[in-house]
Symmetry: D2
Subunit: 273 residues, 4 copies
């Protein structure tokens, strides 16, 4: 499989950034395999979770094999811990990066379809949030959304104080997130509900706009600590009439679950499930 690590100067992040990509461009390896098509590739932008990096999906899942089987060019950007939201204060515009600059760059460099229905966004945990938010906000760009164990945490954060107390020294640990981190990332908690970081509000606006909706595959394990907000978004989408696929099944917040569902979601995308 053709695996790429590349870096380039991002005009929206204002610095060099790195991407892991997989392009299903290899010739037939065994006798009898069909010759390669010259058609442009479909594109899947696949987002990592909090604390992760662009190489996570390649190292953690079978995306390499799946990309070949589904003839899908996969691009995994680095979102640092941004939740894929524009950080205007720091000139680090992650939403613009993954929803506009990266797709354009991919099409300028690689042999990629420019059709909306051939452009998919997916992700896990923080990246599941990013995929859902990006798809709902940019329905003209993305034809489908694949969201696993999505960190749909905005409702919870909306109850935090707008001026958080600093965390006591020595607490937290490497994975503990300070309250200020959430405020910096999502904006003042009191302003979250109904804003453009609120997936339910975005879904409602998308329904009302009459724009073509991205197809949506959502999955979250029933033992995942994020199951409740996933159920909540699922119910909301049902209530407003946004058709989508929703799956739970036994599972925690782990690569085992994500690996199963990236495979199932690509079959679903191709109408095979």
């Amino acid at each position: 499989m053709a695996v790429f690590e590349f870096s380039f100067f991002s005009m929206t992040l204002h610095r060099h950034t790195e991407v892991t990509a997989i392009i299903p461009a290899e010739g037939p390896i065994f006798p009898g395999q069909p010759p390669l098509s010259d058609a442009p590739f479909r594109m899947l932008i696949l987002l990592h979770g909090y604390s992760g990096s662009h190489s996570d999906w390649l190292r953690g899942s079978s995306i390499e094999q799946l990309a070949q089987a589904h003839r899908m060019a996969v691009f995994c950007p680095s979102g640092e811990n941004s939740f894929y939201i524009d950080d205007v204060k720091r000139d680090a515009l992650y939403e613009q990066y993954i929803c506009k600059e990266l797709p354009e760059f991919a099409r300028r460099v690689f042999h990629i379809s420019d059709k909306r229905e051939d452009c998919v966004i997916g992700g896990l945990s923080m990246g599941g949030y990013g995929a859902i938010r990006s798809g709902f906000k940019h329905p003209d760009t993305f034809g489908a959304i694949l969201a696993f164990s999505s960190a749909l945490i905005t409702d919870g954060i909306s109850h935090m104080p707008d001026e958080p107390q600093p965390a006591p020294a020595g607490q937290g640990g490497a994975m503990g997130m300070a309250p200020s981190y959430f405020v910096h990332t999502f904006g003042k908690p009191s302003g979250i509900i109904g804003s453009d970081v609120d997936p339910k509000a975005l879904a409602t606006q998308l329904m009302e706009s009459g724009a073509e909706r991205p197809r949506l595959y959502m999955a979250c394990g029933s033992e995942d600590f994020l199951i409740e907000p996933n159920r909540d978004l699922h119910r909301h989408l049902e209530s407003i009439g946004y058709e989508h696929s929703y799956t739970e099944g036994h599972g925690i917040h782990s690569w085992e679950y994500w690996n199963e569902h990236i495979a199932r979601s690509l079959n679903w995308l191709d109408g095979k499930e």
Copy 2:
């Protein structure tokens, strides 16, 4: 030359981060070359500039050859556009990363000297600022500082308003930095002078503390747009009695200048210039 790209989970950045490293560990290639020493390597942490990344020094300079010639293990981290200052609001502690976690990681993984005099920090532009500030704040960690075309911009920023106006839409361009970026990075402008982001204040405190001072090599081209603040720090260091090497010479803000001075500074470090 042995070139390494590696990534690991940083406890101070709260996510995976990437490093380019060069280790002068190859055996004798031509007959007659001396055998390799088993002594631990010296360490140079080498910082990139604004908009850059961990691979800049490898791609832009002759650091690979210099590392071999000076038997120096070189580690180039990614500082994003942080100026290597802790971003407490975002749980992204760049100062702790380059001054504590990275040296410790390097010593745990590689065969690196644990002596202060064998630990050097250097950088260009934003990375020159980072090298100077880090060396002045952590004199027990770093035995020497190599600073090229340093972005000693804190005096200038101290005159900005504490509550910056948003930049007018459409202005700026990819390299234009919004006022809010500076405030987020360095803190309220009115509080900068005398704080721990002010290199002159740090130098004064270091002199007064009686701690052993890092050796310091500063260079900035006379045509560089950053020449005045470099001259200013140079004069300040002279006025307080901080011995250091200071060079200008013809030059702009370019790899040609940095490549010349990384070479000269390593000779200086080894007492050859």
Copy 3:
């Protein structure tokens, strides 16, 4: 997990070569995890199969998680299609590379134990052959061998003609190996049996030498096309009294099988299975 891609000039291959490595050097991520040990790491040299490359194990298996769990530094070299045998005609000495230069390089650069019992060699398919042959030939270097679906094909090749006919044009396909390839790799077929490319002969010599034998874990799926020569070596080892672990179980020549057995073999190595 700390993942490394590095390249260096190999004196035995006479050119730059690349290695993927995993070093279990990260600090405690969650509160309550024990602090890191300063003890040197054990080393596992892990070999890819025919047609593969140094990054195969990282991309195809869970070796990253296993390296952390077992505190084992893993080095995956590139063996091209050499079967890890010295190609003297081309100055490309793969056996010397993996059995001598790479372990020495790893110890010179990284913080690695220099004890024989802390140095393990493993591999799959062509790499399983390489692990077995290397371990049997260099029992002073390797304390253990982990061999999966090993391409123990020398008995079969010994029946080929010494002067192979060229393959008919258009046959073969990308994975078809020409007879000349085997002759180039293993030497004249009539000379294979009893030579140092014959694992059974090497095992017998090792038993007779009285040298300390590497511990050996062998596994091959009962549906693998290589099962018969694996059974044959297993019987030979039993007949000469070389204690070892041998497992079959349901399985074909696939990452699913290798992933299961790299995990089981590391437990076996640590006395947990």
Copy 4:
């Protein structure tokens, strides 16, 4: 600049192989820069020398800046120590790889022109030989050849015995090439002259064929140990009427020389010198 490291399964090498590439696809960084063109990129396949690897040109030269300035997509493959000649005995067909599979792969994956005049091959030392031989043998594929310090050593090797004596033990050193290496690489010395590894013979045949000839830029420093065979090919090309650019100038076998001439040759290619 957009820099790519990628690997894929090569059907002609029968294994995964790695490529370093540079694509001039970044947007305008400073205000006032022209917008990007959507035209396909020209392609330069750029070959490393003996003992090198795919990353040499990126690390050793300014090719990154030059690729942007000339809007040229650059692909640097790994030729190991093959001289870019098919090694039929080992199923490792380097000529087919760089002259057919790699250009096709690049066009299938990236947005690359399919015109002959937009496809250039270049290289240094062993890679200069490879560029010249490939260009002369495949004039329908390559519109131009850039050859620096070319290792035009076939005349010298043609005087070696067909059955070389093994090198005495302990001689040679890492860079010493055994006689058997040359015989394996180029075939029996007595058969070299006039064969398809003989650049002068290929040039003569190309002239006689009437096919369109690749434009040719040759450079070799007057202090280079390879200067004589470069002068010899230059005279031969003059004698048969193959127009070309030939330059010597002060210089040895070094990156300083190659860096100067890759820059000059790209200007020459664009009619600027």
